[in-house]
């Protein structure tokens, strides 16, 4: 395989998410190019870069919401292009995503929204389990609130609860602490670190360098940076 960019991440072994020399554009010039990444089980990555660099776009490539313009994206050893729509649905159940814009069903209360991945997968939903999870993210008082009535930070915490409810192998979080105060950010980070210790693979896109430093003191992390359309390993200054 001719690879102009050396793959970042773990050099060998099975990998959950694998990008190989990927390029992407929204129709204009390339937003990302020569992007390669192997996301091995149990790893903890941060993704940084200036606003508009393509962090959200990169994450969307990682859960099959967008298809690479060129190169290969492999999820759980299956090329995304070869997945049928049903297989894509099944793959999404193994990847928990905290979307930057959260994406809830506005007509359903928080409890139903957080349980939604279970519901659509046809699994039994235990109200008490969801309430436990909501307590974990500090939203136990809002189980019956409708999403439009929540604050930005509350929505982000709910989104994290929804992302982990299926017990996914991988958690991709897009600016999960963007609207949170420092205490709540630390609490969320603690949750993610705990999940990582349980063996989950974590990838967090964030601007928050303090958060990254805080994480580095708790867990072995790698920091990726998108700059000039390329994905690079960030320097040791972090």
């Amino acid at each position: 395989m001719r690879n102009s960019a050396s793959p970042l991440g773990e050099p060998r072994g099975i990998c959950l998410i694998n990008l190989e020399n990927v390029a992407f554009n929204y129709g204009g010039g390339d937003l990302l190019s020569e992007v390669s990444l192997r996301l091995a089980p149990g790893s903890f990555h941060f993704l940084t870069g200036p606003s508009g660099a393509g962090k959200s776009t990169f994450l969307k490539l990682c859960y099959g919401d967008l298809l690479a313009t060129s190169g290969h994206v492999t999820l759980f050893d299956r090329n995304v292009r070869d997945l049928s729509r049903d297989e894509m649905a099944l793959t999404r159940r193994r990847i928990g995503v905290v979307h930057q814009d959260c994406q809830f069903l506005d007509h359903l209360p928080l409890l139903s929204n957080v349980g939604l991945p279970l519901t659509v997968a046809g699994k039994a939903v235990q109200d008490s389990d969801i309430k436990d999870l909501l307590t974990w993210v500090g939203l136990e008082k809002l189980t019956n609130a409708l999403p439009p009535s929540l604050s930005g930070g509350e929505r982000q915490r709910a989104a994290l609860a929804r992302a982990v409810i299926m017990g996914p192998d991988v958690i991709l979080a897009d600016e999960p602490t963007g609207n949170l105060d420092w205490d709540m950010s630390l609490r969320l980070l603690a949750l993610l670190v705990e999940l990582n210790r349980m063996g989950k693979t974590i990838l967090i896109a964030t601007h928050d360098l303090n958060l990254i430093r805080q994480a580095k003191s708790q867990v072995a992390t790698r920091v990726l940076r998108i700059a000039k359309r390329r994905l690079q390993l960030a320097g040791a200054d972090l």
Partner: protein
Amino acid sequence: MIKLPAILSDHGDGVVPPSGPTAWLTTATAAAMAFLAVFALALALASGRLAERWSAALDRSATVRISAPVDQLALQTAAVLEVLSTTPGISAARALDLAEQQKLLEPWFGPDLPLADLPLPQLVEITEGSEGYDRDGLRQRLQAEAPGAVLDDHSRWREPLAAAATRLRILGYLSVFLIGATMAAMITLAARAALAANSQVIRVLRLVGAKDDYIARAFVRRFTLRAAGGACIGTVFGMAAIFVLPAQEDAGSFLTGLGFQGAGWLLPLLLPVLAALVGFLATRTASLSNLRRIT
């Protein structure tokens, strides 16, 4: 406030927001279509009965009418019966007596007609055997033996009527089919509009791992119920309207015969089932093809 169990118990319907104020339009249209379909069905069945009766009569019976001066009438009648009895393909021939002729004329002239005083033609009823007979040959022989005898095999006036009734029956069934097709088109449009209105919801569902089938089910369920419910209402009203039409009389004219008979009343009950099927297939097709476009 919507409770959580709702989204589980109703098979995914709850994950799609409740429909807007125009939802009843689908039900109302389905009701109107079913109402029309009941009439189309009644028309098809009634004209079917008529076509059958007329063509059966066409095949089975004929009449020989003998008009002659009173003194020759008995003679010619005997001659006609003789001819008929030797004609292959005719199983029976019988001269109608006075009382029978009186009965035939009664609807037109009343019961007190002094039949004996009128120069009425004698009627001879022919029953055809299964193999049929040679009409033209019979006509020629009758002409020779009894100049006043005319073979009336009813085909002259019944044939076009039977043909018209048959065509009317086809038109009736065609109408039922067209009504079904219109309903399918209407439901497809409504389902597409609902999918478009809910594209954001569908996106969220896809992102959390819902299969197309699951998302489609919520819409399919809704529109199937609406189509079936509307069709039930329309069918009940249609059947009631047919029921209160004047009942069929002996004369059996077409208009009073428009209706259902016996087990025929069960047939319109199939309409809600058909409507549900049409609703199901139309919504499912529309959903699955549109979901592909949305995400």
